[in-house]
Symmetry: D2
Subunit: 282 residues, 4 copies
């Protein structure tokens, strides 16, 4: 990733084709975890409309002045306690001369070093109550669900939701410890499965802990690789191939307990820590 | 591709993850070319609204009864004379037992043969007046432009437009002969650049004429391969990597004459026939 | 793979760029396992020389008349009891008209179906005494060792040996049950890691049991995928990238017990059955 | 590439898995071109034997003291005037602590920057008389030919020769200007076709002139990309897939004038400068 700014004890980072000033803000902290996640509304009017809808639910926290790279935000909590914001005004990234790309339709020069993550893809959370969070993000925030896990007892154990043609922009699964508001991982997209494999070699050489992968998810079928950054947060590098949700009336795919026991697409068993490790630690 | 139906002298085909009954209808004809292209509206209401808007422009041709795999359509002509339709009701593809996929979140079994095209990606047309077609598809049909070519004399020579997060769902360039309503190519997406290279080997072995590629486009940066099907229509197999247009306020990228003279991304000169070959022949 | 002949209850198979008539002979049998493995000598003289050397060790079984696709062979047993043969005369594969390749420097048409294995790569065996087999193949058969596993107690637990610039043409590890002469797996090479991933999708769709992978080996660094054929023999599809042993004086790489406990290159734990499953079953 | 030493006005470079101290020596010069190429003999005895054979032909220039990274060499000229050397004693590369690889079976840490060339692959020359050079390298130096171009008039126009299982270690084509002893290009191998495509993006972003490619050669079928280094020498980055020459009795593939007119494997026309540009300039 490339640094695009600093303020106080925070550093702002981006993939090489993220169009905004940054997509990741790292702030020095004693404990790992997600400070907040912010989604961009599709227009100033959509922002106002959505803030009003959230306000009515009692989860709203009010307007902020914004941050380096984007304008004012409307802040709120999910029912599970995750800090979220929505905003519209954003600073489009302008590459400095030494990072100007050869092709004008990409944000920044293609880097010749590191794992080459192209753009922010999605975020995964843990929730004490998956169904409640799914209803909130669906009915209040306006997302639609594309895939889900339903246990034999009828309980929702996982949900994948989108506001674009990407198959998901956010996902969340049941917190193993029943804790509230925890973070599971953030995912950056690379251009190919080969780039995921290459990232694995780079992580290996640089002593970055590889938790699991590369392999192909059964749910959503992305080709994945999970590592922990030095602070303990899980980070995913992934490629979705050409898979998109293009149907306006897509009906959520439901995975049963038995189906999920098969592990990942080609048979890799889901690693235990994937179910238990979240940040902050409980 | 896989056949999903036949009616009269037409055969209906699909990529392995197209969610609809078919995405290509081939009809026996003495001359190559595009019969019509149909886009799906996002809802029954959206269909009615759009039909009414088109009706007012005088380009409408009225409602049809639909076809194998989809319900009634509203038919119209572009100002350039291409036959288009919009529809909403569609038949979701149901794989027969022998084509049932192992993973329930894909439409059909991943095929172990052929070029493995995953899904319809986009369509390219030729137009006698690029600007007029761009305005029609933008203002009347409701598409937005993501990239364009503007000649030194101010004339529009190419436009790429989308209704999704894909960087384009349709593109069109100036017809070399000034002809009306011609077809340039249809594109199916594969999951990786490697699949494009593999398709090249398969085309080579099967005597399919390779016009140009594999290479990377400068405009839109897709990794492409162009062939002619036996009837003479151009077909593209392509992969876009993880590139999407996620900004709701994306401003069209403009390419100048000089920039386009550089050829494709890595320097391949655009082949002459790419500018001249369209169907039907003039 | 492609069938290139039948005789009795045997069928002869080949990868699309194997230069010989076949590289795999399947014979109907009640129990899975390896009938024999045959290596080709570099010249008629080398064959005679090598046969004489083996003869002297008392492991020789004498000359055979050959088989479909190759001439007479000198048969012998390894000290562990595996049936081996060496031969020189071979029938170069001649593609029938419908399988003639477009490029004359490949053996057969690039297939548009299946896992596209290019050529036989290597064979893995189990041995009751790894050191003894390593010495036999090194000193008698004339192979050189490129990598090995040495336990803390000094015992050899695995050996990789070559007679070419491939990093290994044969490998063998200690038989978990101390059994003699067993088979571990046969490996076919594909052209890229992407082809290995694609093979995984094809195996998944066709109900072929995937034992482990795709992942990258620590030893020899090949990108691997292991499946069981319906009869129970393990088969590997692999890609070695551009890795070759080009040094004439390559010194074997030694892996310790502790190093091997780390699992595969990116951390995948070696699956239990990989240590225990061999054919015939004990 | 990584620097492994300097001496005088020369810098020594290597791919990340080259086993020797260096595989490229760059020396400051007013004119581009090849100073010399050196091949390693398989043993001290083989070196002596070969030197004696060359000596007898009158092309020998005698022994040198060696250079940084390798011992004494026997120097000679090809009949066409290229400077060549053979040697045996070499310094195995020892990675400094910061470049130590995680996997002990590779020479150096896998780099997270640049085009990631793994190892030297081969060298291409231009020759005034292809047949004469082919006979010299075959009969005197001990190489064997794997593919060749024979013109309709019977003249040899290109030859590919090997001393390993790689399909070629050297190649040469007729010098367009009839000049003597010129250099065409040097090739480094990467692990996959994807890495070649990635190299193209890196070259593009860094203003390196891309002459032709990426595409697949018809001859030898390597996936190639040609660039000029700032001094004007042509450099190739290539991947051969799993293709090797494993037959001890491989018979050279002959390409005719007509076949070569078809261009490269998927139809790319061979660029004019590929036939004319060599170093030093005529």
């Amino acid at each position: 990733m490339t640094e695009s700014g600093r303020r106080g004890d925070s550093v702002y980072l981006r993939g090489w084709d993220d169009y905004e000033h940054h997509t990741l803000k790292l702030t020095a902290s004693k404990v790992a975890g997600m400070g907040h996640v912010a989604y961009r509304a599709t227009s100033p009017e959509a922002l106002e409309r959505r803030a009003a809808i959230i306000e009515k639910t009692g989860h709203g926290k009010g307007w902020t002045d914004g941050d380096l790279g984007h304008g004012r935000t409307y802040a709120f909590n999910t029912p599970d306690g995750h800090n979220m914001e929505i905003y519209y005004e954003t600073e489009w990234y302008k590459a400095p001369p030494e990072l100007k790309p050869s092709l004008k339709n990409q944000a920044m020069r293609f880097p010749a070093r590191g794992a080459n993550v192209r753009r922010l893809d999605h975020l995964n959370l843990l929730a004490s109550d998956v169904g409640e969070l799914r209803r909130f993000l669906g009915e209040v925030v306006g997302m639609r669900e594309t895939e889900q896990i339903i246990l034999d007892n009828g309980q929702e154990a996982g949900a994948w939701m989108t506001v674009t043609n990407k198959t998901y922009d956010i996902a969340f699964t049941a917190d193993h410890y029943g804790a509230h508001g925890r973070f599971h991982h953030i995912t950056y997209a690379v251009d190919s499965k080969e780039e995921v494999l290459r990232a694995a070699d780079i992580f290996l050489e640089n002593g970055v802990y590889i938790e699991t992968g590369p392999h192909k998810h059964a749910v959503q079928q992305t080709f994945f690789l999970y590592v922990y950054e030095p602070g303990g947060n899980r980070v995913e590098v992934a490629n979705a191939g050409a898979r998109l949700v293009l149907a306006p009336d897509w009906k959520p795919i439901t995975w049963t307990e038995e189906e999920r026991k098969k592990g990942q697409a080609w048979g890799l068993k889901t690693i235990e820590s994937f179910h238990t490790h979240g940040t902050p630690p409980v």
